[in-house]
Symmetry: C2
Subunit: 227 residues, 2 copies
């Protein structure tokens, strides 16, 4: 009943899922094209890779930047798929940091061209919110900032640093990752270890300055420190 009442024409609904599937298909094609022809592919290349002509592409993406945005989001998924578990895992804090860092680096390692495409292949004219990379970094940094802020407040410390620190940490890992990708001069495991060491020391120092002795081999007591 509710189906024919006034439901605005089922012909419109028929494609609901299809469109998304098609978009996904083109996103995959773009990724394939990037892998094959390097990070500076054009719309023609992508269309060719998808076995289709340009206008078809433009039926599904308003714009080059729209397509690239979608690719970026796909990359975000890849990233989150691997970082998620590490982020949620429980365990010794020092080890967790290393896992998170290593998860990030593993994605970079496995998809170098895609990574370069997404991170470096941006536009000058990106209208503020169309920058996936910035969005991603914000996403991660924001999550981090909340965690940091909660802890700091729980310890009665100034929590004003939470946000800048979060962004600093994100930038740190990213830049070290960029450097590593260009001149792979050490193993991923080594790099993860070095970075985790640095981060751990930074966090430990902050805690120390509040009189808290944290054990890197133990899980972080979740906000029960001042109860």
């Amino acid at each position: 009943m509710a189906r024919t009442v006034k439901g605005p024409d089922a012909r419109r609904e028929r494609w609901k899922g299809h469109r998304e599937q098609r978009r996904a298909e083109f996103v995959e094609a773009t990724i394939a094209a990037v892998a094959r022809k390097g990070p500076d592919v054009g719309m023609d290349d992508v269309a060719a890779e998808a076995g289709v002509s340009k206008p078809v592409l433009y039926r599904h993406f308003t714009d080059k930047s729209d397509l690239y945005l979608a690719v970026g989001q796909r990359a975000t998924e890849l990233l989150m798929d691997r970082m998620g578990p590490a982020l949620l895992a429980d365990g010794p804090i020092r080890g967790r940091i290393e896992q998170i860092v290593d998860a990030y680096l593993s994605v970079v390692e496995d998809n170098p061209n895609l990574y370069r495409f997404v991170v470096k292949g941006s536009f000058v004219d990106r209208p503020v919110e169309k920058d996936v990379v910035a969005e991603d970094k914000n996403l991660i940094a924001t999550a981090l900032a909340r965690i940091l802020g909660d802890y700091l407040r729980a310890l009665d410390m100034d929590s004003g640093g939470a946000e800048p620190w979060a962004h600093a940490l994100v930038g740190m890992v990213q830049n070290a990752g960029d450097w590593w990708l260009d001149r792979q001069t050490m193993s991923r495991a080594n790099l993860s270890d070095y970075l985790a060491t640095l981060i751990w020391h930074a966090i430990d120092g902050l805690l120390r300055s509040a009189g808290v002795e944290a054990d890197p081999e133990k899980p972080l007591t979740p906000l029960r420190l001042v109860d």
Copy 2:
């Protein structure tokens, strides 16, 4: 005598200085155009700003990326002019870190559009070595890495982390700076302080793990620690 011997035609020499001056002039025009029209100026805009037509520009720059490269180098000068003193200054280590960070942020604050233009307005097709930003970051990171490495070796610690740590620190400051530039939600002084705190703690932690107690209020003893 040596002048007319075979000296390959003084007509060639006559312009030696002139060309450089002209390039500088166009670089300034580009910066002005960027400041006026935002970071996505085109060659026509630049030419217009310089009161000249496009081909003139192309006599002095092979390429758009050549011009932008020169702009980047100019920006590097601005940056180094302010960071240099802070880098060379002597004094309490914690304070020096803050000065260096603050010097960086002050440049960002004073030239937001130029900064965005240089940092974000790069090309996908930059042929490896034409990326000023990457070059700059490398420059700074390499210098940092040397300092870190020397200290670590002097302390008989593993110096393998020097390079990744240097890049990590650079990325940290840069990313925090980017974030701050977008949503200026705290004063520059505050941000500098927070970042310096984080960096200090990281360094202090590394030293502590080697059994060295560093005083943030004192200058770093320059490599005489193990003599």
